[in-house]
Amino acid sequence: MPATRWLTSIAIGAAVTLPLLTGAHAQVKEATAPAATRATRTPAPADAYVYIGWPNDGEVLHRRRFKIWFGTRNFGVAPAGVTKANTGHHHLLIDTGLPPLDEPIPNDKNHLHFGAGQTETYIELPPGTHTLQLIMGDADHVPHDPPLVSKKITIRVQ
């Protein structure tokens, strides 16, 4: 692993437990430094998939802080830094599109990392319409091949 990539992994690793406790506002901007791209990504089985268990697509929420649970099928969860076939950890994309698939997923308020192996979280969002989407990352936060991406859902916070 190139030194730059290693350092980036460490920086992201240091930030991964923040989202669980502090929600969408937790961020470590330093961790978004661009990293070296990788020629081969960690393979994922064809029947694996990821979904947002709750909220449902189109849900109207009457509170700003709410729980999201992450679903995976035919695939396992492992903390960041753990290299094991058919596992990965969740990343929650808020109000943004998919990141580049051949490099570590950014770590900022639009890209929350769950590198401690969490399968749910609480987030707080301002009133308005928001999109949520999950994407799995491997031990180094790089999406799998094929990428394990949930449906992108839209919710409205009142």
């Binding site: 268990g53 649970w69 992450f70 679903g71 995976t72 099928r73 695939f75 396992g76 969860v77 492992a78 903390p79 753990v82 094991k84 058919n86 596992t87 769950f114 401690a116 192996g117 969490q118 399968t119 749910e120």
Partner: protein, 142 residues
Amino acid sequence: MNRFCCIVAASALIGLAANSATSAEPLPEGTHAYIIWPMDGATIPSGKFWLRMGLSGAGIAPAGINRPNTGHHHVVIDADLPPPGEPIPNDKKHLHFGAGQTEARIELPPGRHTIQLVLGDADHIPQNPPIVSKKITVIVPQ
């Protein structure tokens, strides 16, 4: 003499088990496991379903991975909780999800069945205190 040796050996084994039991570190206070689906009392006509396992306050790590504040799910079907401090049995009433799964395909014959989750550490030993879900009942009609 032979009997004495056996007793010593057995004591040593018990000692080992006790040591490994105390190595299971507690998870953060408030951590709890729960069955997301099915609901307690649900009727499942086919007897086949995806069990969804929830964990609040800690993370999932596959078996064999020693990482603080993590564990992996075990599903206890039609049985009481296994004894604390020793590896959870691995049989048809105690299903292991050591690959870090959070969903499991379950097939049950007609009748009433109980389902309960218990978290295990890297060595399949329940944490101390144990993280267990509510024991739910599902009904599979004839």
